[in-house]
Amino acid sequence: MPVTHFPEKITKFLRRRLVELKEEHGEDSWQYRGIALQYFRDPREDVDAPEENIKHYEAGVTAGELPPGLERLYRRSLVIEPTLVCIAHCRYCLRSNYAKHTLSEQQLVDVARYCGSGANQDFLNEVLITGGDPLLIPNRIEFLLNALIEQAPNIRIVRLATRIPTQDPDRIDQDVLRVFQNKPSLRFEMATQVNSPAEFCPETEEAFRKVRALGVKIYSQNVLLKGVNDDSAVLVDLYDRMRLNDIEAHYLFHSVPMRGTHHLRTSVDTGLKLANGLTSCGRISGRAKPMFAAMTDIGKITFYQGTIVDRRDGKLLLQSEYRLEDRLAWNPSWDLPESAQVDSEGRLQVWYLDGAD
C-alpha cells in the first residue's frame, strides 16, 4: 500500500542545504544523499515489501488508563507526545500513521496530574517529551513544564526530543530557549537525531551551542539508514562531529520496519558489523561509541551477545530483560503484542523483522 498519507515535507533551510551540497559535492555524494534520502519521498516507498508496521508499538497512546498523548513502557519514565506535528517529514518516521493531535492546555494539566498521582510519586522521575517535534510549539511546552513543576514535583529529569536544530536551526530562538530556562527543579536533556555528518554546518552547530550554553546535555539517537550512514568511514565522521559538538552518542538504532522503509533498512547483521567496527576499530574514542539497538514491539532492545536467540523467515527472535508483570504493574492497559512471548524465566522475547542488504 503506498504511503501517500505521509507527504514530503522539507524545510526551507534543508532545501537550501541540499542545493549547497549538490553544487559542492554532487548528487551521488554521501553528503547530499545523507540528507536527501532522509527527507525526499522515494518511489521505492510504494513497492511491496515485508515491512508492514503502521505504528511502532502500542502503549496506551489513546486508550486505556493513561491520558491521551502518553506512552508508558518503563517504570521510571514516561513518554509524552504533546503534538505529532513536525516541521519536516523523515521518511522512516515511527509515528507517521498516528493522528496529528496536539494536546490542549487542559489535557497537559491532566498529563501533569497523572505524573504526580498515586504510586507515580514514588517511582516516576523522568519524562521524555517527544512527538512530533515539541519545540515547534514552545509556548505549549512551557505550559506543560510549569504544570509538571506544580503538579508532579517527583519529575526531576526532562528529556526533549527534537530535530529542529538540524532541520531549521533559526527556530532555536529565545522562545525555544526559554523552555530550558528558570526551572531549577528540572534537569534538561535534549534528545536529537543526527544521522549524517553532512547535517553539521555552522548554522546547526550554532543552534546546538545555544542550547548547550544553558547547561542542557544533548545526546543523539541515530538511525542506521542505507545510503545515509551504513558506511564505516561515514559513521566515524558522524561520531567525531557529534563529539566535537558535545553531543553524546546514545543509541544507534536499527531502522524500525515501518511500511515504506524497506529501501532504507540494512540487515541487523550489517548493523552489528558496523557497530562492532566502530567500537573496536580504534578510530573513535570509547567516549563517542553508541549502543546498537532495535526498537521492537515491546520497547528498545540493545544488542549484546546472546540477544539474538533465533532466526526464522527473515525475522529475529530477540531476548529482553523486560518482564510482563512489571509492564502490567505500571501500565495495566498494556497488551502483550502478538510478536512477543514470555520465556521460561518470565522475560519477554520478541520477533523482529530483519532488513535486507
Binding site: S104, D175, K183
Partner: protein, 291 residues
C-alpha cells in the same frame, strides 16, 4: 510586548496544532498575513501580496478562492492561538538592569521586569508574571501568577484619602491597605490601582483591565470582569464576576454592580445595580435590557 516572528509554517501544521481537518492545498505560509478568518475579512485593510491564502472559517463566509480551508467553530480563537504559538515572540523573562527591585520584594520564577520599573517593599509577584516597562508597584501588594502589567501602570498608588481636620484643612491619611491581584490578570498601560487606608483593593482572577483605567482605593473587581479604556472605578466599588464595562464609563464610589452586568460606553453608574445580568447605559445609567 509581542514581536512579529516570520516563520515558514504549513497549513497542515496549523490544522494539526488546532486538531482540525485541512481541506485544499497544504501550502507553506511565510507570514501570518496569509491567514484569514471571517472577522478579518469583514474588517478589511489586510496586506495584499499573498497568492494563496489559508481560511479558518465557521462557514459564515464564501470559501471560494482560498487555497486551503480549516473549518472551526471558533476561528478567531484559533487564529489567536496560532499567532501566539508560531508568529509571536516574547522577550526573555529577565529583570532589566535599569529596574529597581526592593530586597524586601518576593519575585517568583520566570518573572520579567522591564526597563525603569520599580518594585517596592512588601511586593510579592507570582510565577510567570510579566511586568513591562516603567511600571511602579508599591507594597504591600500580592500579584498572582501569569499576570501581565503593561507599560506605565501604577499598582498600589497612594489612595486619594483625605479627611478634614479640626480647622477644615484636608489631612491625608496614610493608605496602608493591601493590593491583591489574582492569577492571569491583565492590567493595561498607564492604568492605576489605588491603595486604601486599611481595606484591600482587589482584582480577582482572570480580570482584564484595558489601558488608561483607574481603580479607586478599596474597590473589588470580580473574576473575569473586563474594563475597557478610560473606565473610572471610584473608591469602595464592588464589581461582581463577569462584569463588562465599555470605554469611558464611570462607577460612583461605594456602588455595587452584580455579576454579569454590561455597562455601556460613557455611562455613569450612581446607584447599586443588584440584579445580575442586564445592560445599563446613559447618564445616570439605566437598564436598557435585561439579560
Amino acid at each position: 510586548m509581542y514581536q512579529l516572528k516570520q516563520r515558514e509554517l504549513w497549513a497542515s501544521d496549523v490544522a494539526g496544532y488546532l486538531n482540525r481537518e485541512l481541506s485544499g492545498e497544504d501550502l507553506a505560509l511565510e507570514s501570518p498575513y496569509a491567514i484569514r478568518t471571517p472577522v478579518l475579512l469583514k474588517q478589511g485593510g489586510i496586506p495584499d501580496g499573498f497568492d494563496k491564502l489559508l481560511l479558518i472559517t465557521d462557514g459564515s463566509v464564501v470559501e471560494e478562492g482560498f487555497a486551503a480551508v480549516i473549518r472551526s467553530a471558533s476561528p478567531e480563537l484559533d487564529l489567536a492561538r496560532v499567532l501566539l504559538e508560531f508568529f509571536a515572540s516574547m522577550p526573555a523573562h529577565t529583570v532589566h538592569p535599569t529596574a529597581v527591585v526592593s530586597e524586601h520584594a518576593m519575585i517568583g520564577r520566570n518573572v520579567g521586569i522591564g526597563a525603569h520599573s520599580v518594585i517596592g517593599d512588601g511586593v510579592e509577584i507570582g510565577d510567570n508574571t510579566r511586568i513591562e516597562n516603567n511600571v511602579v508597584i508599591h507594597g504591600p501588594a500580592r500579584i498572582g501568577e501569569s499576570c501581565v502589567i503593561k507599560d506605565g501602570a501604577v499598582i498600589g498608588s497612594e489612595g486619594y484619602g483625605f479627611v478634614a481636620d479640626e480647622d477644615g484643612k484636608l489631612f491625608h491619611a496614610p493608605q496602608l491597605g493591601l493590593i491583591r491581584i489574582g492569577d492571569r490578570v491583565w492590567i493595561g498601560a498607564n492604568s492605576t490601582v489605588e491603595r486604601a487606608m486599611i481595606k484591600e483593593t482587589t482584582i480577582e482572577d482572570d480580570a482584564k483591565i484595558d489601558d488608561l483605567v483607574h481603580i479607586g482605593n478599596g474597590s473589588t473587581i470580580g473574576p473575569r470582569s473586563r474594563l475597557t479604556a478610560g473606565t473610572v472605578i471610584s473608591f469602595d466599588v464592588w464589581l461582581g464576576a463577569d462584569v463588562q464595562v465599555a470605554p469611558s464609563a464611570t462607577v460612583r464610589h461605594s456602588v455595587t454592580v452584580a455579576d454579569g452586568i454590561v455597562i455601556g460606553q460613557g455611562a455613569v453608574v450612581v446607584t447599586d445595580l443588584p440584579e445580575p445580568g442586564g445592560v445599563y447605559v446613559g447618564v445616570p445609567a439605566r437598564l436598557l435590557r435585561k439579560a
